[in-house]
Each structure stands twice: as structure tokens, then as C-alpha cells.
């Protein structure tokens, strides 16, 4: 008989790991819904993680997260400027942003440069915070009463602030996207920008806003990976998880609520595969379990290639295409 505490442990960790993917994919969904394919998600994440590392040690969690949001917004603006205003190829720009993110994050965290930044931000910063590669992790905050419920309590109500933020953001972003006129505007820009334009929607402004949202959420995802999950900085620590988030967006077929379940699946696989290794199940082929989310993503893509399904799920028709005002 499986013990309750075992399930709680696995699910709580799944939610923790899944939050990395959830934050990133929520941002990506908004960008893609408005027609911008943001392959720079990985770069936004790694910069977010680097900022979280340097700024948390200098200024503490709150100001660090504010800085992460700002830098994410800047990267979103850069993306929008390149693909909306300059109308450059989104694939090329996205990959360039990822490389840019790797470079920038490596630069910011170079010991000498990091020390300068931290001393500029906070002249009082102790030497030990400058040389360390870790930072204080976000503490779990228990929601009173709710955290005492078996299973649900430890899994959903004994997490850190960013996990709560991600879950609430998913609901809010779903509501805005599907139940408000702003959401309608975003979706219509992604479907048929010229039609949206003729209806008086400012296509460029919408795409700028969704890019910034993607940048902010991506940077937060990276910051979460660092201060919310494993607070040790190594270069390229995102390890391609920004691209996994892109696959998740497809799996979630561009819905913030489905992204919650998708992120639990992707996070859960990472958690479960180690348990399976210990059970002796997947000892010979742990890669097989790790492959599963991608198999699901490929199957989803295949299903989405059917025209009628595409129509029903609402795949953004203008995804990846720059808009020219005729």
C-alpha cells in the first residue's frame, strides 16, 4: 500500500519542479497567442536566473524579484522591437536572444563583474555573499488552515511565494485571455492581424505588450529555478528548459489552464523518473521516461495538424508571421 506521505512528497515536488515550466509557458502562450513565436524563452530564463543570483545576494528577495521583472520586461521589449518593429525573422531573433541570454548571464555572474555590480547596488554587502555561488532560497509559506488538509495542503498550500504566484497567474491569465475584450484582442491579433487592425485594434501595441509579458514570465521562471528550486548558480543552468516550455505550450494548445496540467506532467516526469530508477523499473532506460513528455508533444503536434482540430483548439493562425500594415 502506498503511503499518503509518499504521494504528498512526490506531488509537492512535482508542483515545485513544474512551476519552472508553468511560469515560462504562461508567458510564451501570451506571445504566441498574439502571433509571436518567442524562441528566446531560454535566454530570458537564464538572464532571470542570473539576476536573481546576483541581486538576491546584494539586495534580498523582494528587490531581486523586482529587478528580475524589469530585466524580463527589457528583454521582451528587445524581442518586440526586433520582430514587431523591424519585422525580423522570429526564429532567428529568438535563437539569437537565447545565445545573447547565455552570454549576458555568464558576463553578469563573472566573479569580478558580479562583485562590482553587487557593491554598486549595496556597498554594505558582506564579502561572503560576493564569493558564494548560492543565495538564500525562498522559504515555503504555509497558508493557514488550508495547509492542514491532507495531500492538498502539503502539495498546494505549503509552497513558496512564486509557486502561488504561478498558479494564480495561470487562472488570471486564462480569464483575461478567454473572458475579456483584451484577451479577444490578443487572440484576434494572433489569428488575423489585418482584420484586427481594421477593427481598430493596435496590432503593434498588443504584440509589444505580449512580448513584455513573455519576457517577464520567462525571467521569473529562471529566477524561480534559482531561488525557488535549487539555489546554486552554474552557467547555462536552465539546461534547455526554455525549449521544453515551448513544447509544453503546444501540448497545452495555447491555454493557460491546460498549461498547468502540462507543467505538472513535465515536472512529474522529472520527479517520477528518479523514483522509478530507485524502484528498479526504469534502471535500464530512464531516458525512456524522460522522453515521454516529448512523445506527448509530438503526438499533440500531429493531432494539431488536422485542420478541424486546429480550428477547434484555436491555434494562432498568424503565429510567427510579421505584420505589415498595407
Amino acid at each position: 500500500m502506498v503511503e499518503l506521505s509518499w504521494i504528498e512528497g512526490v506531488l509537492a515536488l512535482t508542483v515545485q519542479f513544474g512551476t519552472v515550466y508553468l511560469l515560462a509557458s504562461l508567458g510564451e502562450i501570451y506571445a504566441e497567442r498574439s502571433g509571436i513565436l518567442n524562441l528566446g524563452m531560454e535566454g530570458m530564463m537564464i538572464v532571470g536566473a542570473a539576476i536573481a543570483f546576483v541581486f538576491t545576494n546584494a539586495l534580498g528577495h523582494l528587490l531581486s524579484l523586482v529587478s528580475v521583472v524589469l530585466i524580463g520586461a527589457l528583454m521582451g521589449l528587445l524581442l518586440a522591437f526586433l520582430v514587431v518593429t523591424l519585422r525580423l525573422n522570429q526564429v532567428v531573433v529568438g535563437l539569437a536572444l537565447t545565445l545573447f541570454g547565455y552570454g549576458l548571464s555568464g558576463l553578469l555572474t563573472q566573479p569580478a563583474i558580479r562583485a562590482r555590480i553587487m557593491r554598486a547596488l549595496n556597498p554594505e554587502v558582506p564579502e561572503v555573499r560576493i564569493v558564494t555561488q548560492q543565495a538564500e532560497a525562498l522559504r515555503a509559506v504555509k497558508v493557514p488552515v488550508l495547509s492542514d488538509i491532507p495531500v492538498v495542503g502539503p502539495v498546494l498550500f505549503s509552497q513558496n511565494a512564486l509557486v502561488y504566484f504561478a498558479l494564480i497567474a495561470a487562472v488570471v491569465m486564462w480569464f483575461v485571455l478567454f473572458r475579456t475584450s483584451i484577451g479577444l484582442a490578443i487572440r484576434s491579433v494572433g489569428e488575423n492581424p489585418s482584420m484586427a487592425d481594421s477593427l481598430g485594434i493596435n496590432v503593434f501595441r498588443i504584440r509589444y505588450v505580449t512580448s513584455v509579458i513573455a519576457g517577464v514570465m520567462g525571467a521569473l521562471a529562471g529566477a524561480y529555478l534559482f531561488i525557488g528550486y535549487q539555489p546554486f548558480w552554474v552557467e547555462m543552468m536552465t539546461n534547455g528548459r526554455g525549449f521544453i516550455a515551448l513544447a509544453l505550450v503546444i501540448l497545452a494548445s495555447w491555454s493557460p489552464i491546460r498549461a498547468v496540467f502540462g507543467s505538472l506532467l513535465f515536472g512529474g516526469v522529472e520527479v517520477i523518473q528518479f523514483r522509478l530508477q530507485l524502484f528498479g523499473f526504469a534502471a535500464q532506460t530512464p531516458q525512456f521516461v524522460l522522453m515521454l513528455p516529448y512523445v506527448v508533444a509530438i503526438v499533440t503536434l500531429t493531432v494539431l495538424s488536422v485542420e478541424s482540430v486546429r480550428k477547434r483548439l484555436g491555434v494562432p493562425e498568424a503565429l510567427g508571421k510579421p505584420y505589415y500594415r498595407e
Binding site: V91, V92, G106, E235, N239, F274, A283
Partner: protein, 473 residues
């Protein structure tokens, strides 16, 4: 209408083409700018004059003038600068950063440079393995490097090719098996490695001495012989101490990351070992102190005593309450040896694993109370021992450490397993004190009390105390 737009879509319009090409150009410029900036920064850093070097030399000279005979001093100080400048080029697989494998090599480079004033070194970092040959080429043509040191397993074949192409240069490859000495590369190529299995055995002794649950875990990178060897050594040590304490066999579990560094993954793996199997001592092969951090978190915040180790450098700051001991490397003395060989024209192709006791000033075992275990020395040494390890086991660890300086004690021997032959998971006797099996794959049994290089190099089996399976590559 629809058909028309369909065909339009397939044809690349001029506009789209321009979009793509400008995109590529801008992307390229952005990327190049970033990479160039970083490279420039690092070049500046590595080219910065090594101030420490000059001071050490003057000081040494001054000291000698006072203490040693004056004539000898004068001779030495005059001859030292006569060694013509030695250009050394290094290739790293990862970013130098301030952690992990490439960082350790870079620390070694600085260590050797400081002690060899005539050396002028340059390095190229984050070199993908297929580009190793061209990186070597550029170190030779642009930097005129006389000695090239390549520091990743995947650089082995390109290094051997370049050694054949440039017979007047010298090459050292780290962690491979091709060298002039081994007979499968030109004579101007050596291979070297800083080997940890002895230290992992000592870690295991510490683990077996403190475990309460009798379960130890290992967060492992890739299922390759090097990692398998370290896991086996660790578990043998843990079993030795635990069985001597309690009379029971240790239980060991392994999770595989299939990655050399991934803190998030290592965390997940470590947690599953603690929660699923109740392991209370965790060793690991991953480039970050993540597992130690997790142990610290469980110990200080979650009310569960979990221990872990240092890996590659002294990591005590990442787990002050959870740190038992660990393995630390200093590649410097090894590199210095090659600098000397090339500078003095006394090159000889070698194939070495540096172990405990190599490159230390005093290469004899010391009595336990004078043991240097836990102090920096040589190329591989033990991180400081936590006083929480019971004193009789501290003494045992020190005794073995000292014995291994003279290779008197060998972990992969019945002596390292409480006098029992070492069996693999299927019960087959792999090491019985008189013979040993080279590898499961070959099935070859050789005469000898201790494993030879082939057996260590090809290790493809788990000792019987490990209850996880070994993935087949």
C-alpha cells in the same frame, strides 16, 4: 482566392527574404557581440600581468641570499630567467566560471604559472569537442604554444591527430588513454588524470561510520567506468565501516542524472534518495555542491540528519552542518611537471593517474597522529574531516590515507572488504586477492592482488551492496 494565397505562401517574397537575411545578420551581430565581449574580457583577464609571480621570485631570492651560500643564490637567480619563455595553451570544454571541471583546470593553470615564471599561458574555453582540432591549431599558430593541454575526454583523438601533425610541439591530454607511452599515439603526447577512487573509498569509510539508517545514496552523472569505479569504491568503504560497526551490510542506491551538471536535476535525485530510500549519507558526481546543499537543508530545516561531501573543491561553505569530508583536486603540480619537461627539453611521453601521495613533498606514510589527511597536498587530497566522525574512524581514515601514499593499501582488494572477496551483484567473485576480472564484458581473469589500469578503466559492474541496477550503455 484561397488557392492564390496558398501559392503566395509557398513562394518566398523579396520582403520575407530580406526579413530573414536581416534577421540572420542582426542575430549574428548580437551573438558575435556578446561572445566577442566575453572573450575579450577573459582574454584581458588571462593576459593580465601575474603580479604575484614577480613577488614570489624576489622574495625567494632574497630569502636565499640570507640563508644559503651567496654564490649558489647568484647562480640560481641568474639562470632562472635564462629559461626561454614557455608558451602553454589550454583548451577547456566548459566555461571557466568559478565552479566545476573547467574551473579546476584553470586554477591548476594559474597555480603552475605562478610557480614557473617563464611560462606564459593562454586558454580557450567552452570548446565543443568537434572543434578541438581547430582550437589546438589556433593555439599553435596564433599563440605559438609549445605545450598544449587539452582537458576533456572528447579531445583525445583530435589531440593525437595534432600531435602527429606538429611533432615539434608537446601535447598533454587529460582523462583519456592515448599517449606515446601507451603506444597508441605519437611520442609527443602524454595522458594524465587525477584519480579519485581512493578518496571515494575514504569518503565511504566516513559514511559508514556515521550512517544511522544503514543506507547510503549516490547521485551519479553518466554510467561510464570512471563514475562506476567511484561508486564502487565509495560503497566498499561504507560497507567496511558499517559492517564493522553493526555486523550488517550497507545498502546503497544510485540515481543517474545523465548530465554532468544540472543543479535542478541533482536536487530532485538527492531528494528521492532521501525520501524514497531513507539514505542519510549522499555522495555524488555532479559539478555543483547541490547534493551537499540538499543535505544541509534536510539537516537544518527538515529535521532529518543527512550528510554529504565536497567534490573537486572544498565546499564546506555550502553545507557547514552536513559536510563530512570529500575529494579535492589541484591540477597545478601535474601541469608544472609538464612545463618543466618541455622547458628543459627533457620530455618523455607518460601515462599517469595521480593518486594520493603523488606530487607531495614527503612521499612516505606518516603515523596516524601526524597524518596529513584533510590538508591540501599534492594533486588529490581529502577535504577537512568533520569532527562528528567518531575518533576511531577518523584514525582509520587517516591510517588508510597514509597507507595509500605508498600504495600499500588498495580499496579494490579483499583487505578493503573486511577480508572478503569482492563480489558483483550477481555474486560472481571479481577480486579474490590472487586474481581479478578485468571487466564483465571481456570476462578475462588476470593474476594479481590488485586491479590494473585496464580493470579500473573498464569497470562495468557494481559491488554486491548496491541495490540499484547499472544502466547498460
Amino acid at each position: 482566392m484561397t488557392e492564390k494565397s496558398g501559392t503566395d505562401r509557398r513562394r518566398i517574397t523579396r520582403r520575407e527574404f530580406l526579413g530573414v537575411s536581416t534577421g540572420a545578420a542582426v542575430g549574428g551581430i548580437v551573438a558575435a557581440g556578446v561572445i566577442g565581449g566575453i572573450a575579450g574580457y577573459l582574454a584581458g583577464q588571462s593576459a593580465a600581468p601575474p603580479r604575484a609571480v614577480t613577488t614570489t621570485v624576489t622574495q625567494a631570492a632574497a630569502e636565499r641570499t640570507v640563508t644559503v651560500q651567496r654564490t649558489a643564490t647568484v647562480e640560481r637567480t641568474v639562470t632562472a630567467p635564462q629559461v626561454t619563455e614557455l608558451k602553454v595553451g589550454y583548451i577547456y570544454v566548459g566555461p571557466v566560471g568559478d565552479y566545476g571541471w573547467s574551473h579546476a583546470h584553470d586554477q591548476g593553470r594559474k597555480w603552475a604559472d605562478q610557480r614557473f615564471p617563464a611560462a606564459k599561458s593562454a586558454y580557450i574555453e567552452s570548446v565543443p569537442e568537434p572543434q578541438a582540432a581547430s582550437a589546438i591549431e589556433s593555439l599553435i599558430t596564433k599563440e605559438n604554444a609549445k605545450l598544449i593541454i587539452t582537458t576533456s575526454f572528447g579531445y583525445m583523438d583530435p589531440t593525437a591527430e595534432m600531435a602527429a601533425k606538429y611533432p615539434d610541439r608537446y601535447f598533454v591530454h587529460i582523462s583519456g588513454y592515448r599517449s606515446g607511452a601507451a603506444g597508441n599515439a605519437p611520442n609527443n603526447m602524454s595522458s594524465a588524470f587525477a584519480e579519485f577512487y581512493q578518496l571515494y573509498y575514504l569518503n565511504g569509510l566516513a559514511a559508514g561510520a556515521v550512517t544511522q539508517t544503514g543506507v547510503v545514496g549516490y547521485v551519479a552523472a553518466h554510467p561510464i567506468p570512471e563514475v562506476v569505479r567511484h561508486i564502487n569504491a565509495f560503497v566498499l568503504g561504507a560497507n567496511y565501516a558499517y559492517k564493522k560497526r553493526t555486523g550488517k551490510n550497507i545498502k546503497a542506491y544510485v540515481v543517474w542524472l545523465f548530465s554532468w551538471f544540472d543543479p535542478a536535476k541533482a536536487r530532485t535525485g538527492a531528494i528521492s534518495l532521501i525520501e524514497e530510500k531513507n539514505a542519510d549519507v549522499l555522495a555524488y558526481t555532479e559539478d555543483s555542491p547541490t547534493v551537499l546543499q540538499v543535505a544541509e537543508e534536510y539537516t537544518t530545516q527538515k529535521g532529518k540528519r543527512v550528510w554529504s561531501f565536497s567534490h573537486y573543491s572544498d565546499m564546506r561553505q555550502y553545507g557547514p552542518n552536513a559536510h563530512l569530508t570529500g575529494q579535492v583536486v589541484n591540477w597545478g603540480p601535474l601541469y608544472l611537471e609538464f612545463y618543466r619537461m618541455v622547458a628543459t627539453n627533457t620530455w618523455q611521453s607518460v601515462d599517469i593517474w595521480t593518486r594520493i601521495g603523488d606530487y607531495v613533498p614527503y612521499r612516505w606514510r606518516r603515523p596516524v597522529d601526524k597524518s596529513t589527511a584533510g590538508q591540501p597536498e599534492g594533486t588529490v587530497y581529502l577535504a577537512p574531516l568533520n569532527p562528528a566522525i567518531p575518533s576511531e574512524w577518523q584514525a582509520e581514515i587517516k591510517r588508510r590515507y597514509e597507507q595509500m601514499k605508498e600504495l600499500i593499501f588498495e580499496p579494490f582488494s579483499p583487505e578493503g572488504n573486511l577480508g572478503e572477496p569482492i563480489r558483483d551483484q550477481s555474486g560472481e567473485v571479481m577480486v579474490d586477492g590472487k586474481t581479478y576480472v578485468v571487466s564483465k564484458r571481456s570476462g578475462e581473469r588476470r593474476e594479481g592482488g590488485r586491479l590494473d589500469r585496464d580493470a579500473l578503466w573498464e569497470m562495468d559492474w557494481f559491488v554486491e551492496y548496491i541495490l540499484s541496477e547499472l544502466p547498460r550503455g
